[in-house]
């Protein structure tokens, strides 16, 4: 029993890492209609900037704030000067551009800061807290708490605010949104800026655990995409729950299903996707889209 609960708690904390990236993906998708494969890469770049500042003696919290501001500006610039050229065309082209951007950013980060692992300082202490025979690190608790706050804030942004409504409208049909007076270009820049900031937060939360490398989030990106598909592209709550589910099931399967073990546990989220999508093509929490033609 103790092992089981410990596995669940560890799974939740791993899931929170995936959830952080997944939320950023959902934000860009809700605000632009695209899946941004460079989301993780952009986040890593921000983390490097924070890390570089801390090595120059800047306090961690200040370094993080600077990296978040950098991300907002960088995200907005990527939209304005790169993505905007592709927004009128085929969405598939734009998605491929984001894959190219990921490669580019990874390469630039490796060139500037090498591919060696760098130790990134943690916002939260590594001390563990014990309750009910389970020990969990304060870092895991802190990460999870931040994710929950971000998730609630995003849900509130998209459902409850005029900005959220405008972002959704622009993502859905930019030309038609402009007919109602929505400044499409500016809203897309806001969407990308917000998502990049969220990515920076996510990256900083997970960097101490993963250690900082240019490809730090490549693995997490795969899990995050799994969570996004599983949870439904339109639901911040859905993707977080899906990410936790993936983290927990992955951990449990490794221990309790001998056939899977630690070697095959990477396959668990994909088996899960396969099964869920057979039953609910819109994901666990996604809104079903019915289109009349």
């Amino acid at each position: 029993m103790g092992t089981f609960v410990q596995l669940v708690v560890d799974g939740l904390s791993a899931g929170s890492v995936y959830a952080a990236i997944a939320l950023a993906i959902v934000l860009v998708h809700s605000a632009t209609g695209l899946i941004n494969f460079a989301q993780g890469g952009m986040a890593v770049l921000s983390v490097y900037i924070a890390w570089w500042l801390t090595t120059r003696g800047v306090p961690l919290i200040v370094a993080l704030l600077v990296s978040i501001v950098f991300s907002i500006v960088f995200g907005a610039l990527v939209e304005r000067f790169l993505m905007r050229r592709f927004e009128r065309g085929d969405p598939d082209t734009a998605v491929v551009v984001t894959i190219g951007l990921l490669t580019l950013i990874t390469g630039v980060a490796g060139w500037l800061w090498t591919y060696n692992n760098q130790q990134f300082p943690s916002l939260f202490s590594l001390d563990t807290v014990s309750f009910l025979g389970v020990s969990v690190s304060q870092r895991s608790l802190g990460t999870t708490a931040v994710i929950v706050v971000v998730m609630v804030a995003l849900q509130a942004l998209f459902i409850g605010t005029k900005l959220g409504l405008a972002l959704r409208a622009v993502a859905n049909n930019p030309e038609s949104a402009a007919f109602s007076g929505l400044p499409v270009g500016r809203l897309l820049m806001v969407g990308w800026g917000l998502a990049a900031a969220l990515g920076a937060v996510a990256g900083a939360l997970v960097a101490p655990q993963l250690t900082l490398t240019p490809g730090m989030l490549d693995n997490a990106l795969v899990y995050a995409l799994a969570a996004v598909i599983l949870g439904g592209l339109t639901s911040p709550v859905g993707v977080v729950v899906a990410a936790w589910l993936i983290g927990v099931l992955e951990n449990l399967a490794a221990v309790y299903v001998p056939f899977i073990g630690y070697d095959l546990k990477v396959a668990v989220p994909f088996i899960l996707i396969f099964v869920v999508l057979l039953v609910r093509p819109q994901g666990l929490f996604g809104r079903k889209t019915v289109v009349r033609v």
């Binding site: 409504l165 959704r168 409208a169 049909n173 030309e175 038609s176 007919f179 109602s180 007076g181 339109t234």
Partner: protein, 236 residues
């Protein structure tokens, strides 16, 4: 007073010149139709006004040349474009579509009242208020597109093929509602419509486009009396 004046409007898609000199004048509270065959430049004329197509010539709205403004800037001046194909926001609910229509307004109470007004005008939408727009029937989508435009309290409505793809009775309902809007709210309109019979129930005058040029302009009564107009657009 003239609300909208087009003078020598030109536009091209790449090397293909689509408009070669369209002129049109819409008085305050007036409704003007644009007639013409496929490819004559009707839709492009509307898109030039709303800033979605780059144009030459003059587009004067309320005394100001608005040529070269972005679509959102044009909308902010009080011009609402209901595009061909309706342009509803399919992934958003009916209510959210209406709220997007009111994006530039700050009067919460007025917005709520106008949503009620739209739902009274189009009772079908009332029943579908939480549905995604993409789940509506063609007629309902057209009603939603018009309602969304009205939510911005426009002074000029650009209406593009509002009857396209609708059953005749549905098309008539949509036009009845638009005529009602015209009479009660005094919104000026530029109406592009294949179905000239339907258009003449709404507009006071019309201009006929041929290969991107205004070739004939007259009141509805004058145009309906002309043999060639009857043959070409009114089915004998």
């Amino acid at each position: 007073m003239t609300l909208l004046e087009l003078e020598g409007l030109t536009a091209s898609y790449g090397p293909v010149q689509v408009l070669e000199g369209v002129s049109l004048s819409v008085p305050d509270n007036g409704a003007v139709g644009i007639l013409g065959a496929n490819g004559a430049g009707k839709t492009t004329t509307l898109r030039a006004i709303s800033g979605t197509v780059r144009a030459g010539g003059r587009i004067v709205f309320d005394g100001k040349d608005i040529r070269g403004l972005r679509p959102d800037q044009v909308a902010a001046l009080g011009i609402a474009h209901v595009p061909e194909g309706r342009g509803t926001l399919g992934d958003l609910s009916v209510r959210d579509n209406l709220r997007v229509g009111a994006y530039l307004r700050r009067d919460r109470k007025g917005i709520a009242a106008d949503i009620d007004f739209c739902l009274e005008l189009f009772p079908n939408l009332q029943d579908r208020i939480t549905s995604n727009a993409s789940a509506l029937s063609g007629g309902e989508q057209q009603m939603l597109a018009v309602a969304r435009a009205i939510m911005s309290k426009p002074r000029l409505l650009l209406l593009d093929e509002a009857s396209l793809g609708l059953a005749p009775s549905t098309a008539k309902n949509v036009y009845d509602a638009i005529r009602h809007l015209r009479l009660t709210l005094g919104i000026a309109m530029v109406v592009v419509e294949q179905n000239a019979n339907l258009a003449f129930t709404l507009v006071d005058s019309a201009t006929v486009l041929e290969t991107g040029r205004s070739v004939l302009t007259g009141t509805s009564a004058e145009l309906k009396g002309m043999d060639e107009i009857r043959r070409a657009y009114l089915g004998g």
